[in-house]
Amino acid sequence: AQTVTQSQPEMSVQEAETVTLSCTYDTSESDYYLFWYKQPPSRQMILVIRQEAYKQQNATENRFSVNFQKAAKSFSLKISDSQLGDAAMYFCAFIGYSGGGADGLTFGKGTHLIIQP
């Protein structure tokens, strides 16, 4: 079974600055996907960014980018130019190919991101 660990229960950053959220995972699978989801106070789960494990290039989506270190099993999220709307819970998630992904997403416990105006 895989596990996902987010070691920062809460992070705070000044508006317009950059913040990095940490995520590590443990798995015996070689093929898998990693995701970051955002959950604002509205409760909606919103996909921020995805990374396929077979891709060496780090994924980027506008102000959001990841640092994927497969050997270290690390998958951090960098948010540049932080905005007030980025305030939310951020969840790191994993899904493996074996079993066809029937196990669904395995989530970390989340990091609560606070944006200081």
């Binding site: 996907y33 409760r43 899904i95 493996g96 992904g101 029937a102």
Partner: protein, 113 residues
């Protein structure tokens, strides 16, 4: 158009009652899931459905039963509700099981009193 929709958004009910949460997706996805988010925000999968076939049933009480009338719908029935069932329940769907991201509904906050 809402991609994955759940009803109701909020559900307050007494212990011992039976309730259902409905979920519909208009994305044409083959796979649907139910996740439970507890009071500490931890998300855990409950069920996966692929082409209307139950693929996995995590160690959830058999009071919980998913029912899928067709590929676009996956409802969650809960019998004999207990206080510990209070949580937020999310429905989700994905195009290809295990190979694509999941799209989530807005969640149903269930409170058992």
């Amino acid at each position: 158009d809402t991609a994955v929709s759940q009803t109701p958004k909020y559900l307050v009910t007494q212990m011992g009652n039976d309730k259902s949460i409905k979920c519909e997706q208009n994305l044409g996805h083959d796979t649907m899931y139910w996740y439970k988010q507890d009071s500490k925000k931890f998300l855990k999968i409950m069920f996966s459905y692929n082409n209307k076939e139950l693929i996995i049933n995590e160690t959830v009480p058999n009071r919980f039963s998913p029912k899928s009338p067709d590929k676009a719908h996956l409802n969650l029935h809960i019998n004999s509700l207990e206080l510990g069932d209070s949580a937020v329940y999310f429905c989700a769907s994905s195009q290809v099981m295990g190979h694509t991201e999941a799209f989530f509904g807005q969640g149903t906050r269930l409170t058992v009193v």
